[in-house]
Amino acid sequence: MDMVTLTIDGQKVEVPKGSTVLEAAHKANIKIPTLCFLKGINEIGACRMCVVEVKGARALQASCVLPVSEGMEVITNSPAVRESRKVTLELLLSDHNLECPTCVRNLNCELQKLSEELGIKSIRYPGEKHAPRYDDFSPSIVRDASKCILCRRCVSVCHKVQGVGVISPNHRGFNTVIAPVFDLSLAEVACVNCGQCIMACPVGALKEKDDTDKVWQALADPEKHVIVQTAPAIRVSLGEEFGEGRGAIVTKKLPAALRRLGFDKVFDTDFSADLTIMEEGTEFLERLQNGGKLPLITSCSPGWIKFCEHYYPELLENLSTCKSPQQMFGAIAKTYYAQKMGIDPSKIFVVSIMPCTAKKFEAQRPEMNSSGYQDVDVALTTRELSRMLKEAGIDVSKLPDEEFDDPLGISTGAGAIFGATGGVMEAALRTVYEVVTGKELTNIEFTQVRGVEGIKEATIDVGGTKVNVAVAHGLSNARKVLDRVKSGEANYHFIEIMCCPGGCVGGGGQPILSSEERWDTDYREVRGNAIYEVDRSMKLRKSHENPAVQTLYKEFLGKPLSEKSHHLLHTHYTKRPLYPEV
């Protein structure tokens, strides 16, 4: 590789040709402040926070887009540089809604942190502010333009990472607003509710729809039996909000925390993930053996489902008819569990804790009520749960270990790995292999489908039948796989698609990392590794060995794909328009 040597603040730095000055400084541990920069996603030199002096150049240069050259001399901390950054920041602040103490991103805001670091003590430029625009029509995502700094990180994620592209900078100059076409609401366009825009936002301009009040009210209502399920990915992310490291495993702290909040029973979505494998694994075998529609594509990820409905309606028949584990849980809670416990299902209030904003949309889909009641009453994100716990004075890191309740809290390692990309595929293969061959699977770790590579493919020998599988995460990767399916280029039998990069551990409802931390830490990989550690620590690691699931079939459902299963655990999909009506 061709290397280039330059000097930054008197220090010699050697970096590969084509690197930017910002990258070179990063390598030399010289900190240059950034705001619009998001490594690998948004490197556009828009905000001018990262300006530096370059010897021989007439003006200050944006280091995030400035390529290094041999012998270049860079100064990152001169009076001119500091003054320029301050002016830029003050101008941004002069048009920013400064309601910091009541902002959802208070103390986790890049603009706030930068103001503190650059020593902004007052704003010298009082002036006109943008017209406030607040869009809370989507059940998942709220946009607040009064806090937007026009960095375009959300736009880049939406277009490049997710291949969705429903928000852009509209209009010009002072009137610029990041919004959908015709300034419609996110609820009116083909937004899939993934929330990756929220993860990319440095400020509070994008946030989840806050449903915590509904949960507080239910918890305070003595008439209601309030139960909660926690998604696989929560156990490797909630701790981060309480000072534990990235990906810290807090599986046993979760029941303790949720009980202290006042939930009547604390259950686990890992249970219904195991149930999903029973249904979906059987569905796959039936399609494979009886010439059904293939490839079968997983249906756990509600962002992916809505994406398919808008962008690939011709593949809706390929989707598994299985509801997601969140919805299966709700349907079982309001039927089987209600009967078993002798509780009127109308009194049962199901809350789910999800790493996901799209789960909010999924929970309110009108068809998700086969028990006669809405399967899930409220879906909260990891961040909302964290806020509730903080409000109640509960510190997750200081709680004792406790267990989930019976019976809907019993799970296997196969359920746990649903939280990472490739996990649903691996869990399904563990069960399908044993069902087909009748033999015990000795090496249960399908490492070919693990990891953060965008698209993973493998051919698995299942009792003499070669099964071609593919795993994609992040919707732009999903597009590549789907286009190959459509063109007939690929011959897959089974595809797992997760909407968010990294799978659910990287979901849009998870704790938010700053741009700076994201540069150094692949948080999806760290959390994903933790998920596999959870799996390894479990006594049971195959869904069909889950005793509570076995009992559920014996006492209630009969067998996978039974009439009752079909009624309660399966669903249908709706073609949705690609473009809005105006």
């Binding site: 277009h159 592209g165 928000i167 852009s168 900078p169 509209n170 209009h171």
Partner: protein
Amino acid sequence: MEAAVKKDFEFEQKLKMVDEMLEKYRGQRGALLQALQEAQGIVGYLPLEVQKKVAEALNITLSEVYSTITFYSFFNLKPRGKYQIRVCLGTACYVKGANKVLDRLEKELGIKVGDTTDDAKFSLDACRCVGACGLAPTIIINDEVYGRLTPDKVPEILQKYE
């Protein structure tokens, strides 16, 4: 009723022309500005139906198309009048009192910037420098340039248009 049917028919014809025009740009995302300019030349403005066609032909998102249209003052989202008035608000014109000329135009026509008169005769837009700073302040009506204006010259100019 008949007039409305005729209008729909004409619009459909124009959409077909847009389709034909877009053939040469198929798959070329870099051709966005040319495609939009030609589409506006055919239809007179760029409604959603036209934007969708451009997005599909060039294989880009509708959002990118809309973003580009709203960035450039030359592009119109609404139908424009028979005579399109553009008032230059570039630096030279502005300093020479272009905003007073604009105010007078709004008053005379009874519409605001960006709108079209009810009889579809005039539409009024502001634009940036038209490159005739020596004539500041200037307005352009269709392809005709009027310079060294004062607000009082506005009624006389408008009278020339039938």
